[in-house]
């Protein structure tokens, strides 16, 4: 088997999924992916596509787009607030897909991963969701409360359509489950870097590095790390070990920290500093 670094541009184009293509390109360039998370509909459904374009302009490689839910059990207060702002404007899963389709009119290459909870998907119907997500231009789906054991059928519906089911791994995941996740996951796996909710503040970089080494023994997909990364230093520290750095709560703090129409500019300006910090590490390594 050829190493991914040896792939030519044509090979990369041939990869079916935008996520795989993106990670292949980045790996060839020795760079770590930067994945911002924002909640669809926050600050408003009209601003979200502009926000996504701005984040891409600031160096985002993949976009995680949150589907608002009334009961976001795994999220800390910042993402809960984002979800509540979106829900107050009536944003549901259908609207999220409309936002993705709007984004795709101007960007056909940046992968979009939806992240949310099971119930809105089940309310739409899993198969209908997979169909509509595919045609809207979604590339991957993270359902926080679908562990692999409960997601076999759903994952199959996604894979049949070339969409990536993305699963979480945690500091408490035993190695036997890593192999199960490796079997079912596509695109990348998402390592939850701490025991807690999104946006918490007790990230232990050394522990993350040790876990990533363990995960890589069982999982060949790229590994993204998220939960608790909130500045250039933590992004750099994680980027040294991970294939992708995921940042959510800290960006949402930028979004909610001023007028809604300037949210894309604020979020992009902040993300650009993270991109620069990560690229500095990559340059030093090269």
């Amino acid at each position: 088997m050829r190493s991914i670094a040896a792939l030519g541009q044509a090979d990369i184009q041939a990869l079916a999924n935008r996520i795989d293509a993106t990670f292949a390109t980045l790996r060839a360039a020795g760079r770590t992916a930067l994945i911002p998370y924002v909640t669809a509909g926050d600050p408003s459904p009209a601003v979200t596509p502009l926000l996504l374009h701005a984040l891409v302009g600031a160096g985002a490689d993949v976009l995680e787009l949150g589907v608002p839910f009334s009961d976001p059990m795994a999220d800390g207060p910042v993402i809960q607030r984002a979800s509540e702002r979106a829900l107050a404007q009536g944003v549901g899963l259908r609207d999220v897909l409309t936002i993705v389709a709007a984004f795709r009119q101007r960007d056909s290459t940046t992968p979009i991963v939806l992240m949310g909870y099971a119930n809105p998907i089940e309310a739409m119907g899993a198969e209908a969701f997979a169909e509509r997500a595919k045609s809207a231009g979604v590339d991957g789906v993270i359902v926080v409360d679908y562990p692999p054991e409960e997601a076999r059928e759903f994952a199959a519906l996604l894979v049949e359509r070339g969409l990536a089911p993305i699963f979480l791994l945690s500091p408490t995941t035993p190695t036997a489950r890593m192999s199960l996740v490796a079997d079912m996951a596509r695109g990348y796996v998402y390592y939850v870097s701490l025991k807690g909710v999104t946006g918490a503040g007790h990230l232990d970089t050394a522990a993350v590095a040790a876990r990533l080494a363990e995960i890589r023994r069982h999982v060949s997909l790229p590994v993204g790390v998220g939960f608790g990364i909130r500045d250039a230093a933590s992004a750099q520290a994680i980027a040294a070990h991970a294939d992708a750095v995921v940042i959510g709560s800290r960006i949402i703090e930028e979004i909610e920290g001023g007028p809604a129409d300037e949210a894309p500019a604020r979020a992009a300006a902040w993300l650009a500093t993270i991109r620069a910090a990560m690229d500095e590490v990559a340059k030093r390594a090269a």
């Binding site: 309310a123 562990p147 500091p171 408490t172």
Partner: protein, 414 residues
């Protein structure tokens, strides 16, 4: 008594009751739930654990709770005989303590010194705070800030018992949000913390474990009813919010297929108004709080706010085993409005000298409604799941200044 042909042995290994139940949680909790499942499987079969549980139920809770023939009320109704399973006589005033004792004993064996709980009306919070004091554990109770102001007396009780009370300001600020917050606490402190869920919902093994601890209610009835009337009852009636008191009395009777099992949900202002908490009657299956079950939700799959005069029934989901019992037809589910429950409250106070919890009044109201349609030799066993001391404010507010008067002294009725 006839037993059903097919033995009932649910849930399966992964916590499924047919399509319901399961483990729908973030990855961080999977390991904690696996550990809980293994430890519970070990101790439920351990005679020492079982003996300690039974000792606490007898000497601390005051079990067995009696079965009482509500003869005056039955006489007035002129139909079937009403019998009450007196869970209201338990220590702390409701069935909730049965489960809290069981989980606290398990927590202690698992070496967890900190327990957390969610509460709506405050009954489960009080029971959790009580067992934490009893076993010398730290206790944190999450309660929606709306409920904190509605249930001031229970808030004070929890504090007296040494628990830390955390008001939850997110979402609708009620029970479901308290549950979300307790889950967030658990995921953050998963190593030293035991989450005592108060009802037969949540991820596996909770619906099974809480049920097992509550089936003491039905098992006692299985021996008490033949002692009192020479046979088993014709129907068992219990209120259903999350459904723990109902499953506790239903479950041992599932094989007795001549015994009707009737769950009563809260219709609030009426099902047609949309202001209710009747998830089995008016909800659709979905995923919330770690399990698949019937949920009150909008077209987008957002969980909707619920309403009931009884805070303990004010929950948009229901235990997955009830979902399964409904679909299979083994249990029937009906509804009772706030007004009907309150009428039953007053009847029970005046006719039987028992002040029942508003939750239990839903079961009483349906029992009274059903009794008049049946002959006098039929027997309806109602789970009187709690006492109404906690509901004094609510009832007083609903009835104005005259709640303690008989209708005869109510000026508006003269």
């Amino acid at each position: 008594m006839q037993m059903a042909d097919v033995p009932y042995a649910l849930p399966d290994e992964r916590g499924h009751f047919g399509p319901y139940g399961g483990v729908f949680v973030a990855e961080t909790l999977i390991h904690a739930l696996d550990e809980l499942r293994e430890q519970y499987a070990r101790y439920r079969a351990d005679p020492e654990f079982v003996a300690e549980f039974e000792y606490e139920l007898k000497h601390y809770v005051g079990r067995p709770s009696p079965v009482y023939h509500a003869s005056r009320w039955s006489e007035r109704l002129g139909g079937a005989q009403l019998y009450f399973k007196r869970e209201d006589l338990n220590h702390t005033g409701a069935h909730k303590i049965n489960n809290c004792i069981g989980q606290a004993l398990l927590a202690r064996r698992m070496g967890k010194r900190r327990i957390i709980a969610e509460t709506g009306a405050g009954q489960h919070g009080v029971a959790a705070a009580t067992v934490a004091a009893r076993f010398g554990m730290q206790c944190v109770v999450y309660m929606g800030s709306e409920d904190v102001s509605r249930q001031a007396q229970n808030v004070f009780r929890m504090k007296l018992l040494g628990a830390e009370l955390v008001p939850v300001e997110s979402g609708s600020k009620t029970l479901k949000d308290a549950l979300n917050e307790a889950m967030r606490d658990w995921v953050t402190h998963v190593e030293d913390t035991f989450y005592i869920i108060g009802t037969v919902a949540g991820p596996h093994p909770y619906p099974m474990m809480v049920r097992d601890f509550q089936t003491v209610i039905g098992r006692e009835c299985l021996t008490q009813m033949p002692e009192m009337i020479g046979r088993q009852p014709d129907a068992i009636i219990a209120c259903v919010g999350g459904g723990s008191n109902a499953i506790g009395i239903f479950h041992p009777y599932i094989p007795y297929d001549r015994v009707r099992l009737i769950g009563v949900e809260a219709a609030g202002d009426g099902i047609a108004t949309g202001r209710h908490a009747a998830s089995l009657t008016a909800g659709r299956p979905g995923v919330l709080h770690g399990n698949r079950t019937y949920l009150l939700q909008d077209a987008n799959g957002q969980i909707t706010e619920t309403h009931s005069v009884s805070a303990g029934l004010d929950y948009p989901g229901v235990g997955p085993e009830h979902a399964w019992l409904k679909d299979t037809g083994r249990a029937e589910y009906v509804t009772v409005t706030d007004d009907e429950a309150l009428a039953a409250f007053h009847d029970c106070c005046r006719i039987e000298g028992i002040i029942p919890a508003l939750e239990s009044c839903h079961a009483l109201a349906h029992a009274a409604r059903l009794a008049v349609t049946l002959p006098r030799d039929k027997v309806l066993l109602v789970n009187l799941s709690g006492r109404g001391d906690k509901d004094m404010n609510t009832v007083a507010e609903r009835a104005g200044l005259h709640f303690y008067c008989r209708p005869a002294c109510d000026p508006s009725r003269r």
